[in-house]
C-alpha cells in the first residue's frame, strides 16, 4: 500500500456539526491517531450509533458503519469477532451508549472484545435538540430543558469499571493532542477499551461549556496517578488500586481528572472463544467455510 498522509484519512464529506461543536476535536484526534498508528484504512472500521456524534465515520476514509441508535457495540463486536484482523473503533453519544444502549454497554464489559469504544459525552441528546442525557446531573437545567433534570447522572467511568472494561480513560474534546494519545493507547490496548470524552455542545449545553471545563480539568498522569494493574497483585494491593480508581472516577466539581484511570490485562473474548472453537482465531468466521462439513460424522448421533 502507498504511504498515506494525515490528509488521506479525512473524507471528502464535510461535517455538518454546529460551529464550535466538540465533535470536531474528537474527529481530528481520531484521524491523527489512525494516521500515527499507520492503520490501513481497508483493515479499519469505525462503527457508530445514532446522534450528532455518530456521524463521525462519514468523515473518515476508513470503513465506516453508522448503525442504529444504541446498537453500535453489538454490531462492532460482531464484526471484530468475525474478523479479528480488523481494527475496530466504536463511537457514539452519551444517550446512545448509556441511555438506550446501556444494556450493551454493560454486557460488552463482560466480554472484553479487543476494540476501543469512544463515548462523546455532551450530557444532552444533541441530534434530537437537547433533551437531558443520562450523564446530566440531577436538578441541572440546560437551556433547552423546560424544567430541571429530575433524573440522576450515571458515572460512565464507574459503570465501565463495574462492567469489566479493561482500559478506562477520559479525554477532553478540545485537548486534541491529549485525546489523540489516549485514542492511540485505547486502540493498542488488548481488550475492550473505554474512552469517555467530555464534549462541549455549545448549542444545547450551556452549563458545561469550554469555559467551565477550562477551569477544572487536570491530567491524572501529571499528578503521578498510575492506572496499571499488574497481574498477581495481592487482594490488599488490588483493593488499594480500586479505591484510588473510585476516588478519581468520582471526582467531579472543582476539579475533573482526565487521563488513563485503569489498565488491566485480562484475557480477551477472542482468547476465551478458543475454549470451544479450537481453531479460532486462525480459522475465523469471515474466512468462510474452509473445509467440507463432516456431515457424516455429525449424523452418527442420530443413526438408527
Amino acid at each position: 500500500m502507498v504511504e498515506l498522509k494525515l490528509q488521506d484519512y479525512k473524507a471528502e464529506k464535510q461535517p455538518d456539526w454546529c460551529p464550535g461543536c466538540g465533535d470536531y476535536g474528537i474527529l481530528s484526534a481520531l484521524q491523527m491517531a489512525l494516521f500515527e498508528l499507520k492503520k490501513n484504512p481497508s483493515q479499519t472500521v469505525v462503527f457508530s450509533g445514532i446522534g450528532c456524534s455518530a456521524k463521525t465515520p462519514h468523515y473518515l476514509n476508513v470503513y465506516g458503519v453508522h448503525t442504529l441508535h444504541g446498537r453500535v457495540l453489538p454490531v462492532a463486536q460482531g464484526a471484530k469477532l468475525a474478523n479479528p484482523h480488523l481494527t475496530v473503533v466504536a463511537v457514539g453519544g452519551d444517550g446512545d451508549g448509556l441511555g438506550i444502549g446501556a444494556g450493551h454497554f454493560v454486557a460488552s464489559g463482560r466480554r472484553n472484545v479487543d476494540m476501543l469504544y469512544i463515548l462523546y459525552d455532551n450530557e444532552v441528546y444533541g441530534l434530537t435538540k437537547g433533551q437531558a442525557g443520562p450523564t446530566l446531573g440531577l436538578g441541572e437545567k440546560t437551556k433547552s430543558l423546560p424544567k430541571p433534570n429530575p433524573q440522576g447522572r450515571i458515572n460512565p467511568l464507574l459503570l465501565a469499571f463495574a462492567a469489566g472494561y479493561t482500559w478506562i480513560a477520559r479525554g477532553y474534546a478540545y485537548d486534541v493532542k491529549g485525546l489523540k494519545e489516549l485514542i492511540k493507547e485505547g486502540i493498542t490496548h488488548k481488550g475492550l477499551a473505554f474512552l469517555h470524552v467530555l464534549q462541549p455542545c455549545p448549542t444545547y449545553n450551556d452549563l458545561h461549556t469550554k469555559e467551565w471545563f477550562a477551569l477544572r480539568l487536570y491530567k491524572l498522569q501529571e499528578e503521578g496517578y498510575d492506572p496499571y494493574v499488574p497481574e498477581g497483585l495481592s487482594p490488599e494491593e488490588l483493593d488499594q488500586k480500586m479505591a484510588k480508581f473510585q476516588e478519581k472516577a468520582a471526582e467531579w466539581g472543582e476539579r475533573i481528572p482526565t487521563g488513563v484511570f485503569w489498565k488491566a490485562e485480562v484475557p480477551t473474548f477472542e482468547e476465551r472463544l478458543k475454549a470451544y472453537l479450537p481453531r479460532y482465531p486462525e480459522v475465523y468466521p469471515a474466512l468462510g467455510q474452509k473445509e467440507a462439513l463432516d456431515l457424516e460424522g455429525l449424523l452418527k448421533e442420530f443413526a438408527l
Binding site: V45, H66, P285
Partner: protein, 616 residues
C-alpha cells in the same frame, strides 16, 4: 397394525423424553418409521408433560387424536388423558395412584378439576372412578407398579433398588413392548444407542428382567417391520442447526428463549466437527443478537440468529437495519403461542404476517416456512443461500411443534445443497472509496466484506447515496428504495417454483397450508378423495399462485386465530378463501381433526371459520 401411537405421560424432569426416545428407537430398530411429538409446560420440574410416538409403515408426519397405548407414570396423567385412548387401547398405570383423588393432584389446572367434577357428578372424583371410566370406554387398564418392579428386579439382580429405580423409563418402555409382543432384540439395540458403559449394562439387565416376567396377552400386538439401515432420527431444531452448518454458517447469536435455544446449543456443542467452526455468542438480549449477527455478516461471515416471538419482536428494528444497509442475515424464527409471553412451550403459526411485515418502513425480505424435519434441514440452507444471494434478511419460520418433534428419515435425504449465486466484488489495487450501493438492474450490488483491500466505504441506517453517505435527496431516495425493493422481484423470478410451493394434488376443494400443517394434510389427503393440497414454502415474496386457485373452493388450515394465511392469499391473489380452518390452543392439528374438518367442507356443512379445539 399399519400404524400405532404410544404415549407416555408424567412429570417433567422425570425422564419421559428419554423413555419416548428409547421407545422410538426400539421400534425403529424393528423397522418402523417413527415420529415423536412433545408437549410440555414452561417449567423445569414437576409439571405434566407427555410425548406421542407414532409408528407407520411409511414415513410418519402426522399425529392422531386417540392413542393406542398410554403409559401413565403418575396419577395426573390418568386424570388428564381420560378420553384420549381409543376403545380397544391399553392403559398402563401404577396402581399406587389409585389412592389419589383429583384434588390431590396439585398441578392439575382448576379447569380440568372442574370438568372432571362435572363429568363424575361430584366435587372430588377419585382416580379409581377415573380408571373405571377408561374401562367403560373400552380401554384395557393394566396395573403396573413401576417402582415395585424396579425393586423386585434389583433384588433379582443383586443391585441396590436405588439404582434400578433410576431405570423406570426403561422399565416402562420394556413393559410396553413386552406386552405388545414385540421382540427384545431391537430394544437392546436401542439401549445401546442411548447409554454407555455401566449404565447401559444395568439398563440391558433391567429390560431382560422385564421381558422374563409373565404378562397378559393383549388384543394389540406389534410386529417387526423389516429393519433397513441408513435411517436417522432427529428433531426439527437439530435439523435446522445441521442445515445451517451445511449452508456454511460461521456465526450465530442467540438470547435464550423456548423453543429456539436448542438450535444454538446444538451448534455450540458441535464446533469440534470438521467444517463446523461456528462462533456462537450468547448475547445480552435479542437486540444485540440481531445486530451482532449483522456486524459479523458485514465481514463476509455467514451469520444468523435464532429466536422466538418475544425475541423476534425485539429484533424488528435490527432487521430493518439489515434491509437498509443490505446485509445478508438469516433470522430463524421458532414460533410459539403469542402474544406477549403467551404460551412459551406450545405451538402456533401466529407470526406469519409479522414476519412478512414487522418493523417500520419497507425493505425487501424473504420469508420461508418449513413443514417437516427434512424441510428444516434443506430450508436452513436455502435461507442462507438466499440471504447471500439477495443481500437482505431472510426469515426462516419454524414453530415449537417442529422444533421439538422428531422424525425418522433416510439419511441420504440430508444432503448439502449448493451455496452459490453470491455476488462479491473482486478487490482492486489502489486506494479510495468503493461504491457499495453501485447501480444494479437486479437490485443486487456486489457484496464487499469489511476488510476488503483496495478501499473502504460507508454504510448507514439513514437513507444513503451510492457511497453510503447520508442523503435526504428525493431522487436518490427513490433510486435506493427502488433498487432495494427490486430484489424481491429478482428473487421471485429466480427462485425455482419447487422452492416456492408444491401442489401435492389438485382438487375442486383446494387446501392451502404453510409450515407444520404439511405432514398432517399430506396424510389427510389419503382419506379425502377430491381434495387437493397446495403447500407454500415461500411466503414472501408471495408466489404467483393465483392461476392455480381459479375456480376452486379454497380452504386454509393453520395454527393461529385469525387465519393469517387466508388473509395473505386473498390479498395477493384476489381470490376468496371460502373456509378458514384455524387452531390456536397451542396444540398441533391432528390428522383426525384435519380429516373431519375437510370432510365437513366436502359435505358443504363447514362454516366459513372452523376452529379446531382438540388437545391435552
Amino acid at each position: 397394525m399399519e400404524e400405532f401411537t404410544w404415549r407416555v405421560g408424567g412429570p417433567q424432569g422425570g425422564g419421559i423424553e428419554t423413555a419416548a426416545t428409547l421407545f422410538a428407537r426400539a421400534v425403529a430398530k424393528g423397522g418402523w418409521w417413527v415420529a415423536t411429538k412433545r408437549e410440555y409446560h414452561s417449567n423445569i420440574m414437576g409439571r405434566h408433560s407427555y410425548l406421542d410416538v407414532r409408528l407407520g409403515r411409511k414415513p410418519v408426519g402426522a399425529f392422531r387424536d386417540r392413542v393406542d397405548f398410554l403409559v401413565a407414570l403418575d396419577g395426573e396423567t390418568l386424570a388428564r388423558h381420560l378420553g384420549e385412548v381409543r376403545p380397544g387401547g391399553v392403559l398402563l398405570y401404577d396402581p399406587k395412584v389409585l389412592d389419589l383423588s383429583v384434588h390431590k393432584l396439585p398441578m392439575l389446572d382448576h379447569r380440568v378439576q372442574e370438568a372432571l367434577a362435572e363429568r363424575f357428578g361430584k366435587g372430588d372424583p377419585s382416580l379409581k372412578e377415573i380408571l373405571a371410566a377408561y374401562a367403560e370406554a373400552g380401554v384395557q387398564p393394566l396395573p403396573y407398579p413401576y417402582e415395585e418392579v424396579a425393586d423386585r428386579i434389583g433384588a433379582e439382580l443383586g443391585v441396590p433398588s436405588l439404582q434400578t429405580r433410576r431405570t423406570l423409563n426403561t422399565i416402562a418402555v420394556a413393559a410396553s413392548l413386552h406386552l405388545l409382543g414385540f421382540p427384545l432384540e431391537p430394544l437392546l439395540e436401542a439401549l445401546a444407542l442411548q447409554f454407555r458403559g455401566k449404565v447401559l449394562e444395568l439398563n440391558e439387565k433391567v429390560a431382560q428382567a422385564v421381558y422374563r416376567e409373565e404378562v397378559p396377552r393383549l388384543s394389540l400386538s406389534l410386529r417387526l417391520n423389516g429393519y433397513e439401515p441408513g435411517r436417522v432420527y432427529l428433531t426439527g431444531a437439530q435439523a435446522a442447526a445441521l442445515g445451517k452448518l451445511a449452508g456454511g454458517l460461521r456465526f450465530q447469536t442467540y438470547y435464550p428463549i423456548s423453543p429456539a435455544t436448542d438450535e444454538s446449543v446444538y451448534l455450540e456443542a458441535h464446533t469440534n466437527f470438521q467444517g463446523a467452526d461456528v462462533a456462537v455468542v450468547q448475547t445480552e438480549d435479542e437486540i444485540a443478537a440481531v445486530t451482532m449477527a449483522i456486524g459479523a455478516a458485514l465481514t463476509g461471515a455467514r451469520a444468523a440468529t435464532a429466536t422466538s416471538g418475544p425475541g423476534f419482536s425485539l429484533m424488528a428494528e435490527g432487521m430493518g437495519f439489515a434491509g437498509m444497509i443490505e446485509a445478508p442475515l438469516v433470522v430463524t424464527l421458532y414460533q410459539r403461542g403469542g402474544p406477549s409471553t403467551g404460551l412459551p412451550t406450545r405451538t402456533e403459526q401466529g407470526d406469519l404476517l409479522f414476519a412478512i411485515r414487522g418493523g417500520h418502513g419497507e425493505y425487501p425480505r424473504l420469508v420461508l416456512a418449513s413443514g417437516d424435519i427434512l424441510d428444516a434441514f434443506l430450508d436452513a440452507q436455502k435461507a442462507l443461500a438466499w440471504a447471500w444471494r439477495y443481500q437482505t434478511v431472510v426469515v426462516h419460520l419454524l414453530d415449537k411443534f417442529l422444533a421439538s418433534m422428531a422424525q425418522s428419515l433416510p439419511k441420504e435425504a440430508l444432503t448439502p445443497l449448493p451455496q452459490n449465486g453470491e455476488k462479491r466484488l473482486a478487490p482492486r489495487e489502489g486506494f479510495g472509496p468503493y461504491e457499495r450501493y453501485a447501480p444494479a438492474e437486479d437490485g443486487i450490488s456486489p457484496f464487499i466484506p469489511l476488510g476488503t483491500p483496495g478501499g473502504f466505504y460507508w454504510m448507514t441506517s439513514d437513507e444513503h447515496d451510492l457511497e453510503g453517505h447520508i442523503t435526504e435527496d428525493p431522487v436518490l431516495r427513490e433510486y435506493q428504495m427502488e433498487k432495494r425493493m427490486e430484489k424481491l422481484r429478482t428473487a421471485r423470478r429466480e427462485i425455482p417454483l419447487e422452492d416456492q410451493y408444491t401442489l401435492y394434488r389438485d382438487g375442486d376443494v383446494l387446501v392451502l397450508g404453510f409450515g407444520t400443517v404439511k405432514g398432517t394434510l399430506l396424510e389427510a389427503l389419503d382419506h379425502l378423495p377430491g381434495v387437493g393440497y397446495l403447500h407454500l414454502k415461500l411466503l414472501w415474496p408471495f408466489p404467483e399462485i393465483g392461476p392455480l386457485l381459479e375456480g376452486k373452493r379454497l380452504v386454509t388450515v393453520e395454527h393461529n386465530y385469525s387465519g393469517q394465511l387466508a388473509d395473505l392469499v386473498q390479498q395477493e391473489t384476489l381470490k376468496k378463501v371460502h373456509h378458514r380452518v384455524v387452531k390456536y390452543n397451542g396444540r398441533p392439528i391432528t390428522l383426525d381433526e384435519a380429516v373431519e374438518a375437510l370432510k365437513a367442507v366436502l359435505a358443504g356443512t363447514a362454516p366459513e371459520r372452523l376452529v379446531l379445539r382438540k388437545g391435552v
